[in-house]
Symmetry: C3
Subunit: 323 residues, 3 copies
């Protein structure tokens, strides 16, 4: 994890368009999104493009060969003959591991059902570390509040596992009872010696938290649970943040957030709050995914040597939430 | 407009595949077509590819994040973290302006509902100027006939606004009454001192026109109007062209044209007529869109210096309508 | 055919990622898959990417312009203004020839309905030649067994025509009566002097065959035939192969194979059998398609001179069926 983050930091000049590199020239990424996820797909593709590689993609709920009865193993073996690396999003938990087993080339999990979303977890860790660095804080010993759909939100599953690798953490898990964190993940965190507090409502006088990690209700994954939206108890807005946080609290969300009025997802009343890190968070997907590509394809040592000045000018048009 | 056309002219060697350039190497275009438009999407993408940049795309009536309740502002801000420039097609009028407001990088409108299609208007102006140049004509003082669906055909809205910037124009607007040009656009042209003639049928002895600009009925945008197809009055064929034009008249259409027999769209009996400019018109989308990219990303001054000979041979296989 | 295969052999270092080349830098492929075929589309796109060109794609059962009534001729002429070469997959037999007629640039048939799939036939011939080379066999005089859906399997139509160009061949065609090879193709092979044996069940003591070419039932093309799956007579598994083949027999399949238990398609019990060439076969689509692009765009003589070392390291992770 430290290795990936270290390479990501070294790739920031490319992510910020101050440098260009062609270090993956001639390499091909096969990006297979069997479940639609435009932002993640574009993030993987853009990261590979910025390193100079070519991206070949397929998108959609059905995969034409699979619809004809092809096994995952056959698909993986065939596509791996066309590409040097693959990124796979799949609606079923465990399917990406099956892909990887049959592939001749490395496979990156871009999200498999309700199971894992490891690159999201890596960019989340990177974001917490970078945000903490500007506040002279350290991750060890910090207090992270997870709010919302902790059952189907796979990003929080992957993230909690990675955060459990740090020392002396406190995790508060605030979720409707129907959407609470799977017990196996809670047990893992406790087994590693961290303090885990599970709540279905906020206490009147909560402990200060260093990070508020909010999530969207994964309506598309609900299995019969009757959830119309969060109750106001789970509505992270300015009042909520001031209740549990302080001026150094970092507010995160894996996005997309549901902006429909009744959703009670992360409020837009925080959009001009400097603690809101959600767009810096999504921006950091690019250097993290570039770092994974660079490490896997063996070019991490050569990146600075490959840097050139862009022949074009990056337009400077920063908006309200620019990093 | 003159600036864009000037750069487009200088980029013709790339459009004609006589030269290649890598002047946008390392840059990323995010091409978001929330409404399908294969030809426009391919034209934007090809223009960016020919300048050496990488294209990341998404296509479809639904955008996965938006389907999850994400606001346009969130989507725009997130995608702008992945790209250096965006091209957006959206089914709702005004939506692209909302995108642009929240984006960190420049956004090009690739068509928003029935509102505007500015790059089409630019390539139309470029086409008229280039066609007139071969006839020793000037745009100022010329007579342009618009025929067909002038209500929902957004290309004619954008084009009439641009043509109104010239001097002493005559515009004849020939449309079924249900599909006539919006009053605001007619008023704009009149306010700028041009002569506007609105007709629902052709006169027996019309004035000669310099350009016949035909359109397809935008069936997908009709709002209750009962239009099965144009009546023969609006059928632009050889007889129509000879009735209103002369040997120097230019025949244009934004394409696609509806070739179903009952559509009465632009007739294929003109396909071998040298006045038919429709394919030279669509070809010119490439240099116009390259010019916009080059200007926005600050490389317009460097394009000739970046030209190289192609390492491959452009196949020469001209058809009947080659430019 | 020999020319294409010769160039494909010279491009193997690129296909195997030992070399990179940018010999098609600046060129644009328009890849139009009006019928979904992920593997073929990725293979064409990857081949073009590895030669350094840019790929612009469209996918789907409907093509937006065509849905608006545009003729194939208009579509072809327009897209050919954006690209230097096109690859077209279309559900209707003969449609790709119409495309090619109206295009300004070369068009490669990537499969048109039940008619032809010529690049598949070329990679099949290339595979047979390469597999035979390791066995000191020659194609002339060999015995090829085709098994399965020989009526709608267009790959076997194209392949049988190409194989008929060789000398003294024996073709055994084993198919359910409802799915037998079209008479015109059988007659062509016989006209060229080859021996053709048509069977609907295996004989007890068959002749040894040099190649077993199996196919999937093209359910999506059936026109009223009641076929639930192959009967066990057409189930190519280890017992079948041992019955008709010998240790030098080559087992092929155009893929995808239907791995549903009742399909009786090519059995996975052969997956570790070195005679199974199906993944080497699909891998060879890359050099064959690169060879076609190189020949058509006039760079076949320059490919070795353009080779460079990859700046990245190809991951070595060979699986059970690696070539």
């Amino acid at each position: 994890m430290e290795l990936v983050i270290g390479v990501a930091q070294r790739l920031e000049p490319v992510a910020k368009r101050e440098k260009i590199t062609r270090v993956l020239e001639g390499a091909v990424l096969a990006s297979l999104f069997l479940e639609a996820s435009t932002r993640t797909r574009l993030s993987f593709g853009s990261a590979f493009s910025r390193l100079g590689g070519a991206v070949r993609e397929t998108v959609g709920l059905t995969f034409s060969s699979m619809a004809k009865g092809e096994s995952i193993a056959d698909t993986a073996r065939v596509i791996s003959g066309y590409a040097d690396i693959m990124a796979i999003r799949h609606p079923e938990a465990g399917s990406v591991a099956q892909f990887a087993k049959a592939s001749l080339v490395p496979v990156i999990n871009a999200g498999d059902g309700a199971a894992e979303h490891p690159t999201q977890a890596l960019l989340d860790i990177y974001t917490i570390e970078e945000e903490f660095a500007t506040r002279d804080k350290r991750l060890d010993g910090s207090h992270i509040l997870f709010v919302g759909d902790l059952k189907y939100g796979r990003t929080v599953h992957s993230l909690l596992k990675l955060l459990s690798l740090y020392e002396r953490m406190t995790f508060t898990l605030l979720a409707p009872e129907l959407l609470s964190m799977p017990a196996s993940i809670v047990e893992l965190a406790e087994f590693r010696g961290h303090r885990v507090i599970q709540l279905s409502a906020l206490p009147t006088e909560p402990d200060r938290v260093d990070v508020i990690y909010t999530t969207r209700i994964q309506r598309e994954r609900l299995q019969g649970e009757q959830i119309e939206g969060y109750s106001p108890d789970f509505h992270v807005n300015t009042a909520f943040v001031n209740h549990v946080g302080d001026p150094s609290t970092v507010i995160m969300h894996p996005l997309p957030r549901d902006s429909a009025p009744a959703s009670n997802d992360l409020s837009t009343d925080l959009d001009n709050d400097p603690r809101l890190a959600i767009f810096r968070q999504t921006d950091r997907g690019i250097p993290i995914r570039m770092a994974l590509f660079a490490l896997i394809l063996g070019v991490a040592d050569n990146i600075e040597a490959s840097y050139r000045e862009p022949p074009w000018h990056h337009p400077s048009q920063p908006g309200a939430n620019s990093s």
